[in-house]
């Protein structure tokens, strides 16, 4: 939007005397958000030295990056769904089905085709979610909740409660090995973050998703095939969740039917803390990555404080709340306006 105004000389001339009162111009605010989230994580890590001298070390950073890798991958998909104004509640079940398919059918020899097929199965389930939302008009909340129940039940039936089998070698390699003293998964996460950012912010698909999130009707008039495009994030989200299941399998060498439970709300929280609007249409994946890292850092530091569980959860909740308040859009635009006037 900026550009159009800027390039169009007459418009600039006409409005030259008008003070720029627009609340925000998107990119700047995102940048501030992202910097703030990462800075908060860094401050937390440094402050954690006061909690325990062993904290704040390079090793702690590696631990945090490893533990946040699950959340980062998961919240990429969730972020895209939120971007188009939806919400994916089926991620825990898809984490489970991804892990179960990888352990039950995967082995060292056949992983090269079983894992991609398993990811396709997950994506297909996501596409069904998308179809339900787009074609049948079912609210995303309900549609993904329903499919979550179906998928969880299928996993239960498939395994009889005890998923058999071990992690295929390739997954164990991804989660357990180190290159030059750094876990392989850290390289992977960096790569994933870059690719994810490109997909969301620098491709046609990504731009269309933003357009739909901002105003579906306008997007349709602009010539976007809204129906098809809106279904794609659900497929991506399901595939991401399925892949998180596989990562968890590699991390702890086996699957359980509840291993997705602890990723539903953090997956959504990472997106929102990272600066995306829960209503869709704004945000960036880099922010989400920061959100995921912040949440994991918080967990690590708080678990090092020898407090009772109740107080720990209160502190965790308070810090998240403070972060959200600090990162609010109007707070920043308020500051910007004041600066401009000054």
């Amino acid at each position: 939007m900026n550009q159009t105004t800027g390039n169009d000389g007459s418009a600039t001339d006409t409005f030259a005397h008008v003070e720029d009162r627009r609340a925000s111009s998107g990119i700047d605010r995102d940048l501030v958000n992202i910097v703030a989230v990462f800075a908060l994580s860094a401050v937390l890590i440094l402050c954690s030295r006061f909690v325990s001298p062993a904290l704040g070390s390079w090793n702690q950073v590696l631990t945090i990056l490893t533990l946040s890798s699950f959340l980062i991958v998961l919240s990429f998909g969730q972020g895209l769904v939120i971007l188009v104004g939806g919400l994916d509640l089926s991620t825990p079940s898809l984490v489970v089905i991804g892990g179960v398919l990888a352990t039950v059918y995967g082995s060292d020899g056949n992983a090269f085709y079983v894992l991609p097929i398993a990811l396709c199965v997950c994506a297909l389930i996501g596409l069904v979610n998308g179809a339900g939302v787009v074609i049948l008009g079912i609210p995303p909340f309900i549609m993904t909740l329903a499919s979550s129940i179906f998928v969880a039940s299928a996993a239960l039936g498939l395994t009889g409660g005890t998923p058999r089998g071990n992690s295929p070698e390739i997954l164990a390699f991804l989660m357990k090995e180190r290159w030059l003293g750094i876990p392989v998964v850290v390289y992977f996460v960096v790569l994933f973050a870059i690719v994810g950012w490109i997909v969301q912010s620098r491709t046609t698909l990504g731009r269309r998703l933003y357009a739909i999130g901002v105003n579906r009707e306008a997007a349709r008039i602009a010539g976007i095939d809204v129906g098809l495009t809106e279904a794609i994030p659900y497929a991506i989200s399901a595939a991401c969740a399925g892949f998180v299941g596989m990562m968890l399998v590699g991390y702890s060498d086996g699957a359980t039917l509840r291993m997705g439970d602890s990723y539903l709300l953090p997956g959504i929280a990472a997106v929102v803390i990272g600066g995306s609007s829960i209503l869709g249409g704004s945000g960036s994946f880099v922010g989400t990555v920061g959100g995921a890292i912040l949440l994991t850092t918080l967990g690590t530091v708080i678990s090092a404080i020898g407090l009772d569980q109740g107080y720990r959860t209160i502190i965790e909740g308070s810090i998240i709340l403070v972060a959200l308040v600090l990162l609010r859009e109007d707070l920043f635009s308020g500051l910007r306006l004041r600066n401009r006037k000054a």
Partner: protein
């Protein structure tokens, strides 16, 4: 998330019924038609999504299909999810349907009491396995009072020579069983000024959570000397392996992965020592057999708290099973046969000789096996307030060591 879980639990109970045929699901209704008088037994579970729960349910199902029970029992399985309200209404419908017996993993020690009492008044026998209720008309069959916490704590103290930094990997916050275990353990640790608890975290009795929580604690305290863990202990081993460097003594529960690690010479060289103890799914099978003996008149037993013996396998006693059951004193299965989260204490050569691996994994009876009578003697569990009785006092010696002696003095 809790809301979602609850909704999922409640909804899946109804939805799985429809899916059962397609997926060969566990909510099978084992109803044979034809024969005259069959005992109507209900298996009331909370959730079947982890190894422990599904193994416990499977061995009850396998026993119900083993002669002569196959002709005597009509077993219906109900999974009610993780909230007490759902289990209360499940109990209510079982009482309505004229149940002879209900065998159950109770979700709460107190919330179900009123319903259980009403069932008892109508002649229903309630048998609880592993978890307990405080209603005196129900039978509790559990290891909880057998001293898991204090015995494993003492074993860890012995390994550490009475001093060092330790982690406590606990269960579910606010859960009475977690509290009993931890109280027992702290009773021991508090006697040793040299022992300091560097970190205490809740791992929800789950391998993955234990691994992640232990990894977080290790970031703050890389120099930990030992870990006292409840179920999920194999995750603690893996977190130490992930970190690299040495292993430390760990006490934990009965996962196959943990026992294999304890017996692995490579792990031992890296410093892993410890003992495997804790919650046995076999208590479900034991409860079911006592219930059947009471129902068929073979045993005259008033409602009571029955103690299941505490499993106790120090590293030196771990022995690999060649067959599909515990024979010749073996107590762990090779990793090709079962996943690492498989809970090994499914078997008991004395109490449950009818069972093999296929019973625990798939709920199938062992070909050719028949139900063997239980030993006459039954161990009464000591009172434990809020766990198996209300307005009662715990005995003075409730934390007395039974499996291990203190080899170091405070």
């Amino acid at each position: 998330m809790r809301l979602n879980k609850l909704m999922k639990g409640a909804a899946s109970a109804t939805m799985i019924a429809g899916l059962a045929a397609t997926f060969g699901a566990t909510l099978a209704q084992a109803q044979d038609s034809g024969s005259d008088k069959k005992y109507k037994i209900y298996l009331a579970m909370s959730y079947s999504g982890n190894s422990w729960q599904s193994e416990a349910a499977n061995i009850v199902k396998a026993l119900a299909k083993t002669p002569p029970y196959d002709k005597q029992v009509e077993l219906t399985e109900v999974i009610s999810g993780t909230d007490p309200q759902a289990q209360i209404s499940a109990y209510e419908s079982m009482i309505q349907a004229g149940a002879d017996g209900v065998i159950s993993f109770p979700i709460s020690a107190t919330a179900l009491n009123r319903t259980i009492k009403r069932g008892c008044d109508q002649g229903v026998k309630f048998f609880m396995y592993d978890a307990t209720v405080t209603e005196p008309c129900a039978y509790n069959v559990s290891f909880i009072t057998a001293g898991f916490g204090e015995n494993t704590a003492q074993a860890l103290v012995n390994e550490l020579g009475g001093k060092g930094k330790i982690f406590l990997s606990r269960g579910v916050p606010g859960n009475s069983v977690d509290k009993r275990h931890t109280d027992g353990a702290m009773h021991i640790f508090d006697q040793y000024p040299g022992i300091s608890v560097a970190a205490e975290y809740y791992s929800y009795w789950d391998d993955r959570t234990t691994q992640q929580e232990t990894a977080k604690a290790l970031a703050a305290h890389p120099d930990v000397d030992g870990i006292w863990a409840q179920a999920g202990e194999y995750g603690a081993v893996q977190a130490l392996l992930d970190k690299g460097g040495k292993l430390v003594p760990i006490t934990g529960e009965n996962s196959d992965g943990f026992r294999l690690a304890l017996a692995d010479p490579k792990m031992q060289d890296m410093g892993l020592k410890g003992v495997s103890s804790g919650s046995p799914p076999a208590s479900a099978g034991y409860a079911f057999k006592i219930m059947m003996e009471v129902l068929t008149g073979k045993r005259d037993l008033e409602p009571m708290n029955i103690q299941y013996p505490l499993p106790w396998v120090p590293a030196a006693d771990v022995k690999l099973c060649e067959g599909d059951t515990f024979e010749n004193g073996c107590n762990v299965f090779p990793s090709e046969k079962v996943p690492s989260s498989f809970v090994t204490e499914v078997f008991n050569p004395t109490l449950l000789p009818e069972l093999t691996l296929t019973s625990a994994l798939d709920g199938n009876p062992t070909p050719g096996a028949t139900i063997q009578p239980l030993p006459e003697e039954i161990t009464k569990a000591p009172d434990s307030p809020g766990i198996n009785c209300q307005r009662c006092e715990a005995p003075e010696n409730q934390y007395e060591l039974t499996k291990v002696k203190a080899t170091v003095q405070p």
